[in-house]
């Protein structure tokens, strides 16, 4: 038991992060879970090493079925979800999944018994009806797509709940399983159900593979697609049919409220990593499959964790990581780029201020840092970090505490910045007819992005200027 302590701690950490329960008493540290739980005891009961090994190594037949089924489901939903997401039909899946409930209830009432395939046929019928209802409502002038989705979702679900209420009073015992479709009940999955999901996954993947070009055309530019001879309505219909298929086979595992998450989240997460549709589809499938795998494994390991919800949380985790960490579109990368840009801007501002001061004090002069602080409204802290950065880059030297000198390479850079700044100012004054007192601010922003090509063009426009022109509005540090 102690040998598995590390592994269990890691697992515990992962789940604690995911679930973020304010768990006061970590039961995993104290060993045996107690049987009588008090009302304040919100800890999770951690599995014994034996359970862990059995689940992770697939020794348990039931677990094997559930884990394989949900993994395949996640992959299929990821693939078709990519296209639904790009076609902006993702929330249509929500209306669709809620609309399956009356079908399940009607099938149950008509047949009087639970037979999964027939219940799913019922679900498909009303689900498709729901989709058509959304499309129909959208054509009414005052009803927008979001309202249409909300209406179908709530009214169809209401019909389903009414029928479930009737069923509850009709019989006893049998109907208990029906509510499993609402929140999902992966533990009830049989081998046949996993096979059904497998077949559906193959159909979905094959369909998307065969129609990849058509799907791509319809997702990105329906008008263009129809002009090159793609039958947009037919392609949309097939796409929606595949969404219906995925939703219906996934009802039992994930539940109709949360199945839409599997369609949206992996696709939205994959979008952060790539601009290539093929890559995005593959990534989305992988994300979906991973969510399915980890979600069902966690819920097999820990008691009282609803599988569907854990799968969705895993997908949410993947989404959060993607949104943070993705190299180009991720938040961290974006804020790093932003930070680097600001640092570079500050560095260039510092150098230009020094070049302006050298104009007053003479080249190579020792510039007191107090004067520099006066040049721009810099806080002492900001100024210190800018100076440190400039010294690291070898642009300045600091012989005494409060005195700064430019190095030769720093001076060259600084004078180039100053020249660019003044060129732009002169250009604005002469060609854009802007008052000399108003050009400084604009040039302040533009100087950092002037490429060599643009500087050369500016030089061609302002042929009389050589070297660093004097400031057209009087030096800032002098004012």
């Amino acid at each position: 038991m102690y040998s598995l302590r590390t592994a269990r701690s890691l697992l515990a950490l992962a789940v604690m992060l995911l679930v973020s329960v304010p768990a006061a008493s970590p039961a995993w540290a104290s060993g045996e879970p107690s049987r009588s739980r008090s009302i304040t005891d919100t800890s999770l009961q951690w599995p014994s090493g034996e359970t862990l090994a059995r689940v992770l190594l697939f020794r348990d037949y039931n677990t094997r079925v559930v884990v394989i089924g949900t993994t395949l489901l996640g992959a299929a939903a990821g693939v078709i979800g990519t296209f639904a997401y790009l076609r902006k039909r993702a929330l249509m899946g929500d209306a669709l999944s809620h609309a399956t409930l009356p079908g399940i209830a009607i099938a149950f009432i008509l047949l009087g018994a639970k037979s999964l395939p027939l219940l799913l046929v019922g679900a498909t019928i009303t689900g498709v009806l729901g989709v058509f209802a959304v499309i129909g409502l959208r054509t009414i002038p005052r009803i927008r797509e979001d309202a249409a989705i909300g209406i179908v979702l709530s009214v169809f679900f209401g019909v389903g709940m009414v029928l479930l209420g009737v069923i509850q009073q009709m019989r006893t015992g049998q109907e208990a399983g029906l509510s499993g479709f609402i929140y999902g009940k992966a533990a009830a999955m049989l081998a046949a159900d996993a096979w059904l999901i497998g077949v559906a996954a193959i159909v979905v993947v094959a369909g998307c593979g065969l129609l990849f070009k058509e799907f791509r055309a319809v997702c990105f530019d329906p008008q263009f697609a129809s002009s090159i001879g793609v039958r947009v309505h037919l392609v949309d219909f097939i796409m929606m049919a595949l969404v219906v298929l995925t939703t219906v086979v996934g009802l039992q595992a994930v539940g109709l409220i949360l199945i839409v998450a599997l369609l949206i989240i992996p696709a939205a997460a994959a979008r952060f990593w790539t601009d290539d549709l093929r890559m995005m589809t593959i990534l989305s499938a992988v994300f979906g499959a991973l969510s399915g795998y980890f979600g069902s494994t966690f819920s097999a390991l820990l008691p009282r964790l609803p599988t569907g919800a854990v799968i969705v949380l895993c997908a949410g985790g993947v989404f959060g990581m993607s949104m943070l960490l993705a190299p180009k579109r991720g938040l961290l990368a974006a804020s790093y780029r932003h930070w680097a840009l600001r640092r570079n801007t500050a560095y260039q501002h510092l150098l230009r201020a020094l070049a302006e001061l050298e104009e007053q004090f003479g080249e190579g002069a020792e510039i007191p840092s107090a004067r520099l602080a006066g040049a721009r409204r810099w806080s002492p802290l900001h100024m210190r970090s800018c100076l440190a950065a400039a010294r690291r880059r070898g642009a300045i030297e600091r012989r005494e505490q409060d005195v700064i000198t430019l190095t030769p390479s720093g001076r060259a850079q600084a004078r180039r910045m100053l020249r660019n700044h003044r060129l732009w100012e002169l250009y604005l004054i002469r060609h854009a007819d802007i008052a000399p007192s108003h050009v400084d601010r604009d040039a302040d922003d533009v100087e950092h992005v002037l490429s060599e090509g643009i500087v050369r063009e500016l030089e061609d426009e302002l042929t009389d200027i050589t070297g660093v022109p004097p400031s057209p509005h009087g030096s800032r540090s002098a004012s």
């Binding site: 929500d94 009803i143 979001d146 709530s154 009214v155 479930l164 009073q169 839409v260 969705v312």
Partner: protein, 445 residues
């Protein structure tokens, strides 16, 4: 349940009315602001707020639940805005991501606590409105009714106090900002109220009814009226009707069709509201399916009648001296034989524009001729057609063969004033670009 009992059914209907009306009031603004799904998202996402509040405070008293749910509701609004703006995820999908993850979190937390608490996931969906009468035993006012009543009062007060501000910031946020109304604040105030309303309704009527009542009455009212005040009034009527009829159907409906017992009142309220919306979709005076279909039918009937009249005139034109009248079969063949065409022929005869000429024999037995008034209308049409062709030919460089189609479409909508203007512009032309004579304007026939 045998019959209506005021001490049971009365309380249930009252709870239903209070919750439906408080949702419907806010729903109007959600629908107008195209934020219908925000109601959906918030009502899913308050679940983890409730659960966390319970886990922290270990009680089901109102205040922690209220705080938890409102912060969860606001979190949903803020998070989906963040995902949308910084993640560049499409708005609906961003909401989908946020609310499904939060709902999953809430579900897990509730299951963790469910062993010992009556915070049952099933209740979350359809509530336990039928429990309310039990709460009424021993107290004058059951607590759920009190909560719902307070929420309704708050919503009414908010809308009454900020009616103008909400109206402007709903229809024109830029204008609102320029006249000094904080549109963002209004947005978040609405979100807070939606969260509060959702929480108060959670226990008694469940989240499905909240979603239905936030969206359906507003949309129904929007179909029926163009004025905000009237829209709010209609939505309240829809909400009250749904509550009353919904409970009656839920309590007694199963018995009417020979089934035992009753079913969930709140779910049935959603269904009744959906039924009302369906009726509005079909029957709404301007935007309804039936009225639009009727207008389209009348329009196409008028176009066919015009086509028939100009056909008869053209037939006469090429046969100036007598000649046989056109046969009905030829008219049908030229216009396209359909029940609509036959009907329009009958109305033309009945309203005296066309007369049937039965003097001929054999194939000529049912010839058709223009009457004087028919001739006048047909002349107007032909004049419109040919003037339009001449006008287009003068001002646009189109090939002569392309003129006819445009004139064919437009001729039905050209008034005699427009004809006069075109004629003046073209200095009273005698012939159209194809060389056919443009008939002179006739007196009103």
């Amino acid at each position: 349940m045998t019959g209506w009992q005021w001490d049971i059914d009365g309380w249930i209907v009252l709870a239903g009315i209070l919750s439906a009306v408080s949702c419907a009031l806010l729903g109007n603004y959600l629908v107008l602001r195209r934020m219908s799904l925000m109601g959906d998202a918030i009502s899913h996402a308050v679940l983890p707020g409730l659960a966390i509040a319970f886990l922290i405070s270990h009680s089901r008293s109102s205040v922690p639940m209220f705080v938890g749910a409102v912060s969860a509701g606001l979190l949903t609004a803020v998070l989906s805005q963040t995902v949308h703006r910084y993640g560049k995820v499409e708005h609906g999908a961003a909401m989908g991501v946020v609310f499904s993850v939060l709902f999953a979190l809430g579900l897990i937390l509730i299951r963790q606590a469910a062993d010992h608490v009556d915070l049952d996931p099933g209740c979350v969906l359809y509530g336990n409105i039928n429990q309310i009468p039990l709460d009424a035993i021993g107290s004058a006012l059951p607590p759920p009714i009190l909560n719902l009543g307070i929420v309704l009062l708050v919503n009414v007060a908010f809308i009454a106090l900020f009616y103008k501000e909400m109206k402007i910031s709903t229809f024109d946020p830029q204008l609102a900002t320029t006249v000094g109304i904080p549109a963002d604040l209004m947005h978040y105030a609405l979100m807070v109220l939606v969260s509060v309303t959702t929480v108060a309704n959670f226990e008694s009527v469940g989240s499905i009814l909240v979603i239905a009542m936030l969206i359906v009455p507003g949309v129904t009212a929007h179909l029926l009226t163009d004025r905000l005040g009237a829209m709010i009034a209609v939505s309240i009527i829809v909400a009250v009707f749904s509550a009353v009829v919904g409970h009656v159907f839920a309590a007694f409906g199963p018995a009417w069709i020979g089934l035992p017992g009753s079913t969930h009142t709140s779910a049935m309220m959603a269904v009744v509201a959906g039924g009302l919306l369906l009726i509005a979709v079909l029957l709404a005076p301007r935007h309804g399916v039936i009225s639009r279909a009727w207008h389209r039918l009348i329009l196409s009937l008028n176009i066919i009648r015009d086509d028939v009249l100009s056909l008869l005139l053209r037939w006469q034109e090429v046969r100036p001296e007598g000649g046989r009248p056109i046969r009905q079969a030829e008219v049908l063949a030229a216009i396209g034989d359909s029940p609509l065409t036959r009907w329009s022929l009958r109305t033309l005869v009945r309203s005296g524009y066309v007369m049937l000429d039965r003097t001929g024999r054999g194939d000529d037995a049912d010839g058709m001729k223009l009457t004087a008034s028919g001739l006048s209308r047909a002349t107007g049409l032909i004049r419109s057609h040919r003037l339009w062709e001449a006008y287009i030919d003068k001002h646009f460089k189109l090939p002569t063969s392309h003129l006819h189609l445009s004139a064919e479409r437009v001729e039905h909508y050209i008034t005699s004033e427009m004809r006069d203007e075109m004629s003046a512009d073209l200095t009273s032309p005698q012939h159209d670009p194809h060389g056919r004579a443009i008939p002179p304007e006739q007196g009103e026939g």
